[in-house]
């Protein structure tokens, strides 16, 4: 068994002290001399034509420096990762209530706010498209001229009707999932200014500065090299800062005024303008043999992407990919539609379409299991994918597959072993307890179609430190620590000697986005490539300095030593390299391996490398009110080799809580295009009081050969199956089978009454 010094060990977060002490400031709290303040004028209607914009009264207000509209955009008036269909400032039409119509830059925030009210916009309201399924019909009003279906994905594998002909049981249901909000701690915001080199700096909460740089350049009509984007390591993202939030408007404000500008969104503004998890409607028809074997699945998924595409197409694609769960199903017919409406905007969010379809598929399985009188673990063991299997999308599972291992580990958890005892410990007769289990797979990386690349630069300084530069930013998920561990292990030096720089287009190479559970895997592989190039060079030079053969030399702590005990410090080596003009660093590159087939029309589908997870829940349902409490949870996770044990456990805990919130309480309500849920007084997320008394986390290391030291990704999968585990536990407790989330008290109560009345 391989012995590691750093990999898998509990180490302090490399960015922990400065974040915990508050030394690292939120961007919202940072100021600059001569700072101007930006504000955005948003739409008055969810769908309307713009007949005129009069900014004269706002411009006349003392303290206003500039009022911006679409006329001030020098390049493409649009942004969007896939298609730039969202205007920086709307010209002829608004498509949701958060659309930006104008911007104000003023000397004072209060003046900027006051100026917004002085901007007069003449609208001609249009019929509101507020139902994604109706939006697909030919007689629906159009959100975009090209039509309301942004993207569709179709998977055909096997012969689905022949599959259903073999089935002893066919389960057919419709599922609906809510519009979850990322609820990051710091709302969208940042600073833009010109530096002494003439670069337009945009410092912003971002998950991919290099792509922001290109999107800003496209809007400003500038060479990207004239723009520097630096990501804020505070505030969080969860997918909500993968796409442009305020970057293009902020950059334009500084570009036009040539002065530093701050723009940040209030929580209410963040709610109405920001990205959300796609609400989906999922039609399932699933065929089972009497022994529980899955034989056929016919699925239609409709995702409401709101007014603009962003990553809605890939989100629906991933919902399609995971719609059969981590199961072998020989005959499938799956259709996915990503549809425009006037319901806000939806985009990337941790899980990226997988939570929606996992809820549906796992509930289908539970309904069948109950009818067939089968054990919940055994029916899953019977159907789960093994390495070498053909997946429902038709690709071969050639990478590591640890779903069975997670099931076996979860089966031994305290929660499962003691479930009958735990269920019997209800404090009051009107409170009923139940236990549920669910499993999931989550594709990691960007999948097949577009090369998913990464890069790292590792260099030795004159102070004897190693600087590791990787573009994929640290946004709270802990990738800096994973990078440091990987580098220290590969170099053989002390962890304290590693300094990590991420998220800066000038000082760290493009390593792709910090999304898709990809950054530790991608960056880690790029680091290993860089170290493989750098380390022999360092040892060779050290050998010259010491007058010994390099073959026996090794890095130990902060020194390079020979078998005879002679050595030099890394600082001495670093200074020598500089003095001699020798290279002290190396660049590593990496491109992900991909699956052996590709689904036409769906960039990224399928993936090759997946993370697997089993989660269990013990809930307590108040039969008088319908309120559900999560009392215990268990997670068994196969993310490959554990790089950062504490970080991975933290991800598992945080993910479970986010998934529990999705299952139990979180939903942004929009009616006829208007937000009814405006802020955190009505959008409720779990607090410490809602957390279970115990969450057992088991890390199942099924090594992935293509990963750094065998690691895969973990950030998303950990939030996925807990939701159907909770809804299954509710059914176990009180017999209410929910096909729509969240399992808010009202919905559970209605279910209880319905069943009591035999409906």
């Amino acid at each position: 068994m391989t012995e590691f010094k750093w990999v898998g060990k509990v180490v302090p977060r490399v960015d922990g002290v400065e974040k915990a002490t508050g030394r690292l400031r939120y961007l919202t709290d940072v100021g600059l001399p001569g700072l101007l303040h930006g504000r955005i004028k948003r739409s008055q209607y969810p769908h309307a034509l713009i007949k005129g914009i009069d900014t004269s009264r706002a411009e006349a207000l003392p303290g206003v420096v500039k009022v911006l509209t679409h006329k001030d955009v020098p390049g493409v008036n649009g942004f969007g990762i896939i298609v730039p269909d969202q205007p920086v400032f709307c010209r002829e039409k608004v498509r949701y209530i958060g659309d930006a119509v104008a911007g104000v830059v003023a000397e004072d925030p209060a003046v900027a706010e006051a100026a917004l009210d002085l901007i007069e916009v003449e609208y001609e309201p249009q019929p509101v498209v507020d139902d994604a399924e109706k939006a697909m019909t030919s007689d629906s009003p159009r959100v975009h001229e090209k039509g309301n279906i942004h993207q569709e994905v179709h998977v055909r594998h096997g012969d689905v009707e022949a599959g259903f002909a073999q089935a002893d049981l066919i389960i057919e249901n419709v599922y609906k999932t809510p519009r979850q909000m990322h609820t990051f701690l710091e709302t969208e915001g940042g600073l833009a200014f010109y530096d002494e080199e003439g670069l337009l700096n945009v410092w912003v909460g971002s998950q991919y500065p290099q792509r922001d740089q290109l999107q800003i350049a496209r809007v400003l009509g500038l060479n990207p090299r004239k723009i520097r984007v630096v990501s804020s390591p505070t505030g969080g993202g969860f997918g909500g800062k993968d796409e442009i939030t305020i970057q293009t408007q902020l950059a334009l404000m500084a570009f036009v005024t040539k002065r530093p500008v701050k723009l940040w969104l209030s929580r209410e503004e963040s709610v109405i303008s920001g990205w959300k998890r796609h609400p989906m409607t999922l039609y399932y028809r699933t065929g089972f043999k009497r022994d529980g074997s899955l034989v056929a699945n016919e699925i239609k998924i409709i995702g409401d992407t709101g007014a603009y595409a962003s990553l809605g197409g890939p989100v629906v694609s991933l919902a399609v990919e995971s719609s059969c769960g981590p199961y072998r199903i020989p005959h499938v017919k799956i259709d996915g539609f990503c549809v425009y409406t006037n319901n806000g905007v939806a985009g990337a969010f941790r899980g990226f379409g997988v939570p929606q379809s996992t809820f549906a598929m796992e509930t289908q399985l539970e309904i069948a299991r109950e009818k067939l009188v089968l054990d919940p673990i055994e029916i899953r063991k019977k159907n789960v994918l093994r390495r070498g299997d053909i997946a429902p999308l038709g690709h071969t599972m050639t990478a590591s597959v640890g779903i069975l291992n997670t099931l076996e580990r979860a089966e031994k958890s305290d929660l499962w072993c003691q479930r009958e005892k735990l269920k019997s410990q209800t404090p009051f007769p009107w409170k009923k307890r139940g236990v549920g289990v669910a499993i999931a797979l989550q594709g990691t990386g960007l999948g097949v179609g577009i090369p998913d690349y990464g890069a790292a630069i590792v260099e030795l300084t004159e102070e004897g430190q190693f600087i590791v530069r990787i573009g994929s930013p640290e946004i709270g998920q802990g990738n800096m620590t994973a990078y440091a561990i990987t580098a220290a292990e590969a170099l053989g030096c002390d962890l304290a000697l590693i300094k990590v720089v991420t998220g800066d287009t000038r000082n760290s190479p493009d390593s792709g986005t910090s999304t898709a559970s990809r950054s530790a895997y991608t960056g880690g592989n790029a680091i290993l490539d860089a170290v493989a190039k750098l380390k022999p060079k360092l040892l060779a030079v050290a050998g010259e300095m010491l007058g010994v053969d390099r073959a026996g030399l090794r890095l130990a702590g902060n020194r390079i030593v020979s078998p005879q005990g002679r050595g030099i410090t890394l600082a001495e080596l670093g200074r020598y390299l500089r003095e001699k003009g020798l290279e002290a660093g190396a660049r590593g590159n990496f491109v992900w391996p991909t699956a052996d087939v590709q689904i036409p029309g769906a960039e990224g589908l399928p993936h090759l490398v997946y993370t697997y997870v089993t989660q269990m829940a013990l809930v307590e349902v108040d039969t008088l009110t319908g309120k559900v409490e999560l009392r215990e949870a268990a997670t068994a996770l196969d993310a490959g080799r554990v790089l950062n044990r504490q970080g991975l456990e933290g991800q598992a805990e945080g993910g479970m809580v986010m998934g529990a919130g999705y299952a139990l309480m979180e939903d942004i309500i929009i009616e006829k295009g208007y937000f009814k849920t405006m802020n955190l007084s009505t959008y409720i997320i779990p607090t410490s009081l809602d957390l279970p008394e115990r969450h057992q986390v088991e890390l199942v290391e099924v090594l992935e050969e293509s990963g750094p030291y065998g690691a895969k990704g973990a950030g998303e999968a950990v939030m996925v199956p807990i939701s159907p585990a909770i809804t299954s536990a509710i059914h176990d407790a009180v017999g209410v089978r929910l096909k729509e989330m969240p399992a808010a008290a009202e919905r559970v109560y209605q279910g209880l009454r319905g069943e009591e009345h035999g409906q």
């Binding site: 991919y208 290109l214 993968d242 990226f352 090369p451």
Partner: protein, 77 residues
């Protein structure tokens, strides 16, 4: 000199074939290669040479493998 070029995603309209062999004069840059294919959008693209990202000013050499794509992938996290 000969280099190999692959376009990805929507940019495949410039060349369908993966690893298309292209003969170019010695000393050309990536921008010359983009001119060769008539690539119009020069801002929202990513160019990888031998799997490392470069910009348009990068000089090409014999045997280089060039990948040209839009940064259109994403995920949750």
């Amino acid at each position: 000199m000969q280099i190999k070029v692959t376009f990805y995603g929507p940019l495949k309209r410039y060349a369908q074939e993966d690893g298309l062999a292209v003969e170019l004069p010695a000393g050309v840059k990536v921008s010359d290669l983009l001119d060769h294919f008539g690539v119009e959008d020069r801002i929202y693209i990513v160019i990888l040479v031998n799997n490392g990202r470069v910009d348009e000013e990068e000089a090409l050499k014999e045997g280089d493998e060039v990948k040209i794509l839009s940064p259109i992938g994403g995920g949750g996290s």
